[in-house]
Symmetry: C2
């Protein structure tokens, strides 16, 4: 038995503030980000002749602890079957595009075809495993919703609001590789600072919920918390005349909202740097 | 200044349980229903030379207290302008298709083009005015979400879950006119019964969240609370062999989920009754 393909969009975080609670369900983050039309497609195959979980990423067998754990939890209700998971990724891993959350959520949605499950019952497993394995706090709930999102409250059932768009904007993102953020996220004093800055940005965005203000506040956030990478700073500065941009949290990447008319100019600037360019529509509907 | 067109889907309620709280924001209902691709399109015009609100429904000037009140609340922030509201309705009024909620929500979304407002900030006014004028409890939040929805908790920020669909289902609905439900909704003992039955249906649907079970529980609900109209009973019975159906809460209408293959047979049965037939896709994305 094979599920239909399920999809979850990539998710870029502009700013965030972690909120940790006793349960993974309640734990999450507030903040703002955007879902892009590029993401992860997943198909699940149930196999009666084996009893293991195998994960293929873009056709290649890989170790994938999050996908394996998610499959294990659903398999407890599907006794006596093995699971083959096929992830097809359109977004890079480790660059801040929420690939882990997108894989987790699209995978969870696949199991609704074998078990009677609601959208939230599927998302619950994806969110909880992401939180437990420390691969994400706010990606899954954002990817479930779509659009330019404002996470007003945290956790699986948190309020995820949207900035309304009266014009067609594209997301231009630019990835220059990985950064090490482990030492920042393990530093308690730094985390306190991040929490405070994130909360401030949230308040300011809700008072003026526009795409422009979302980028402006994201930029302020990354500068103030000092995660602003030097290479990224240069790209952001170079783009300044054409379009406001900010660093992707957390990846050595830049993102910006751009109107079709300004795309050529922005691209001509970015092409002088070395990295991978992504032009995406905003995914307004969320995962399916 | 004229807004772009905004849309909210029609919404059919299968079963419900009112939950009244101190504020309109917190008040609402739990239950289940479905959003259909037919709904209400609205455009708002700001006029600097007058200072009143005028509402046009399908091109004709009409009294529309909900739309007038909503416009009034947004106008408080848009000083010195008049408002012309143009609603274009694809669904009948008073038949249980949530036309009032769809008009309220699509109208509220239009104001996001003149004021920086999020999706929830717009929906808040629509939901509150609906609750205050007693025209709806759960329509607006359902129409904001879309799909076959399960309202797990009530109010503007309530949890609205979705039944996941692995096949393309259409909604066949059939309207035989209006029913008087005022006396039922004003009867405290009856309302207690409705509340209890609705809560039971909610629990049973969450345990087996499928379209078939949603209809089965809706049917049980309408029979047990005794709102089951005699004419409607006949239509439901006649459809039984082809497709489960139930009475629309609250209207003299029937709804059913039908696969494309079964549509002709269902139509041949329904055509022997006298009423208006609607064939709609499920609106999975909600209002925009």
């Amino acid at each position: 038995m094979r599920s239909h393909s399920h999809f979850a969009p990539g998710h870029i975080t502009g700013f965030f503030s972690p909120r940790i609670h006793e349960t993974p369900e309640a734990t999450g983050s507030v903040g703002a980000g955007v879902c892009i039309a590029h993401g992860v497609y997943t198909v699940v195959e149930l196999l009666s002749d084996i009893n293991t979980v195998t994960v293929y990423i873009n056709g290649k067998k890989e170790d994938a602890p999050v996908s394996e754990e998610i499959s294990k939890r659903f398999r407890e209700k599907l006794k006596g079957v093995g699971v083959a998971v096929h992830h097809d990724l359109e977004i890079p891993v480790g660059a801040g595009f929420g690939a882990s959350g997108a894989a987790a959520l699209s995978l969870s949605l696949c199991f609704s075809e074998f078990l009677p499950l609601t959208r939230y019952q599927c998302a619950k497993i994806a969110h909880e495993v992401e939180v437990e394995t420390k691969t994400g706090l706010g990606d899954v709930v954002s990817q479930l919703r779509g659009g330019i999102e404002i996470r007003v409250s945290e956790g699986l059932y948190g309020i995820v609001d949207n900035i309304l768009l009266d014009k067609k904007l594209k997301v231009l993102s630019f990835s220059m590789g990985e950064i090490k953020t482990d030492n920042i996220l393990k530093d308690d004093k730094k985390m306190e600072e991040i929490k405070k800055e994130g909360e401030k940005c949230l308040r300011d965005l809700l008072a003026q919920p526009t795409p422009e203000n979302m980028i402006t506040l994201s930029k302020r956030f990354s500068e103030r918390i000092g995660i602003h990478d030097e290479d990224i700073k240069e790209v952001v500065k170079a783009l300044d005349g054409v379009s406001l941009s900010s660093m992707v949290m957390l990846g050595k990447s830049v993102f910006s909202f751009i109107r079709e008319d300004d795309m050529q100019e922005a691209l001509s600037i970015i092409e002088s740097f070395s990295g991978a360019i992504f032009i995406s529509d905003i995914q307004e509907g969320g995962a399916w």
